[in-house]
């Protein structure tokens, strides 16, 4: 199991389109993947689950992956946050 923390740096935070991209990417991996924010832990493969976190810019979330492709999953999901979900230049 791998866990990595990442800061939300896109202006709109984990809003609908960003959450859709995140869940879409998470669904391409076999591993179980979770996003943790404060006390809440949601399935990263669930769009509505991610939206319930209501996580905004400046917040830190943790990505947890557990499975055979966990390393790649965390790396790619972290990358999605770092490139601001391709929303901003």
């Amino acid at each position: 199991m791998i866990e990595e923390k990442v800061e939300i740096i896109n202006k709109l935070g984990l809003h609908a389109r960003a959450a859709a991209k995140l869940s879409h990417l998470a669904n391409t991996f076999d591993s179980d993947i979770f996003i943790v924010f404060n006390e809440d832990k949601v399935n990263a493969k669930s769009l509505l689950g991610i939206l319930t976190l209501a996580a905004s810019v400046g917040n830190y979330i943790s990505i947890i992956a557990d499975g055979k492709d966990e390393k790649r999953a965390v790396k790619e999901i972290k990358g999605l946050f770092e490139k601001k979900f391709d929303e901003e230049s």
């Binding site: 389109r17 879409h24 769009l47």
Partner: protein, 134 residues
Amino acid sequence: MIKSLIITHGGLGKELIKVCEKIFNKNIDIECICFNWEEDGTIAINKVENFIEKNKGNKIMIFTDMFGGSPSNICFEFVDKNIEVITGINLPGLLKFLTYREKNMDFKKLAKIVKKGAIEGVNIIGEYLGEKND
């Protein structure tokens, strides 16, 4: 593939589809019937019958905007083992449907999941924040 139809008062359904397409960044295969305020329902019923005929052999999920409204009331007669109607659809419910529709799950179970997703999308933020801060 589960075929789907949204029937709403005015253009509400069309806008819901547009928003989903924006969120998923792709075209979404859901047809829409905008219920005309002035008509008695005959035209809309014909459109639903045509949709069902055209998609014979598929499971069909119909969404309407409000239980008890005309768009819902005209659909009661169509419900059977291959056709289900979910009333009071909202954006969370529709997103749930679009996420699960290709997962090959039991059709009636999918309807329950969509209903749950739609209901869970309604929150009172004051209460939500209260729970989080408790």
